[in-house]
């Protein structure tokens, strides 16, 4: 138990959260306006088409009308920008989490649920538990460690539990089916449609996919900075290939993957100077 608890709260440089926070909160307005503009369109649908999720029924969330959707959208974008600036991280972060969760209820309550934002939601949930952070700060913090660990585990579970779902819904013979062929017929690109002539290749791809998903917890063993960067490269390579083949990309999940990066090493012009200052002052004080 002791060792397990320590693993969950292993201190990491708090500058890592400072960078990750900016990525996560800046992604929110991009998501709303650029990548998933269809969410806001749900406000224009007759309410007869609303099929509430369990969470919407349990929390008695309002039926999304045009007004509800517009109010949530603009409040969400405004608070995400405040949170991205690092101001009042606990308060602004908590509000962003609540509004984004409601935004997801608007998104997913019309007959299709997306599976690309579990880790992103976990990131929004845990980031407010870390207080103020500075770019480039290498002093280690257990609260930063726990928050990033939660996101990393959520990223891994998205793969691992996807393999579980394939076995649950598709059966043990899922890899020998025509799931990839179907995906390519429906949404293929010039880079993938040629594969339809080689069904064996697609079946091999399916074995590789479920095998890799089952092995995904190994990513959590990547301890050195170099191994973590390699893990990020591997995952990005996978998601970019999927995009090239069937034009689907798990963007919010990709943002969550960045929780693996040793981003406290990033040198930001202007910012770096300021973050070094307090340490220098402390040294001068010690000498005096």
């Amino acid at each position: 138990m002791t060792r397990l608890a320590r693993w969950w709260m292993e201190p990491v440089p708090s500058g890592r959260v400072a960078v990750f926070r900016v990525l996560v909160y800046l992604y929110v307005p991009l998501d709303v306006f650029l990548f998933t503009p269809w969410v806001a369109q749900h406000g224009g649908l007759p309410t007869a088409l609303y099929q509430p999720l369990t969470i919407g029924r349990l929390l008695h969330l309002p039926t999304p009308t045009h007004t509800v959707v517009e109010v949530v959208r603009w409040l969400l974008v405004a608070t995400a920008l405040v949170a991205a600036s690092g101001r009042a991280p606990r308060l602004s972060g908590t509000v962003v989490f609540a509004l984004y969760l409601e935004w997801m209820v608007v998104a997913m309550s019309y007959g299709k649920v997306e599976h690309d934002r579990f880790a992103f939601l976990v990131a929004l949930a845990v980031l407010p538990t870390v207080g103020a952070t500075r770019f480039g700060d290498r002093s280690r913090s257990a609260s930063a460690g726990w928050a990033l660990r939660m996101v990393q585990v959520a990223v891994v579970l998205t793969y691992f539990l996807a393999a579980w779902a394939k076995i649950r819904f598709g059966g043990w013979d899922w890899p020998t089916g025509a799931t990839l062929a179907r995906a390519i017929v429906r949404r293929g690109t010039v880079l993938s449609t040629w594969m339809l002539d080689y069904p064996t290749l697609l079946v091999a791809g399916q074995f590789l996919m479920i095998g890799a998903e089952l092995c995904s917890p190994l990513l959590l063993l990547a301890r050195s900075d170099r191994a973590r960067c390699a893990a990020v490269g591997l995952l990005l390579g996978f998601h970019v290939s999927v995009f090239a083949g069937i034009t689907i990309i798990f963007l919010p999940h990709v943002v969550a993957i960045m929780s693996l990066l040793p981003s406290e090493r990033l040198r930001l012009p202007g910012r770096a100077e300021r973050s070094v200052q307090p340490a220098r002052d402390a040294r001068r004080d010690a000498l005096a």
């Binding site: 019309y110 460690g145 939660m150 819904f169 025509a178 799931t179």
Partner: protein, 154 residues
Amino acid sequence: MARGSKTSEPPDGLGRFARVWRLTATGLGLALVFTGTVWGQDSDFPFGPFRMYSTRDSPDAPVVTTQIEATTVSGRHLTISGPQTGLRRAEVEGQLGRFVADPALLGSLAVAYQRHHPDDPLVRIEIVRHDYPLRQGQATGVERTTVLASWSRP
């Protein structure tokens, strides 16, 4: 964490309460997501099963896609895409059972379309299923269509 609990301020900077609630939240979150994966459905989002491409498609069964085909007042025929109504293809497929059982619900789609295109509203909507047969996972180039539900402006 036993060592930390003996002193008021453990070396890692988190007090006892801070550690206990973090571990409790971790356990609760894991329990929810595993329960959702084993017993849950999509509607249990965000704790439902991660069922992206999780169904098995038989290599000899046809690939099925649906389209919403419509006719406007001025007599134009068109295939309705997500941005024209606000309901995406996957969402139409997700609610397909409702549309087939109660085609009058397609009238809601006509209302949604009219909000985006007030000049030329729809008078007829059909949900059409396209079957593309496969043989041992290989495309055959054949296509069959079936009308699943239709609605006309009363």
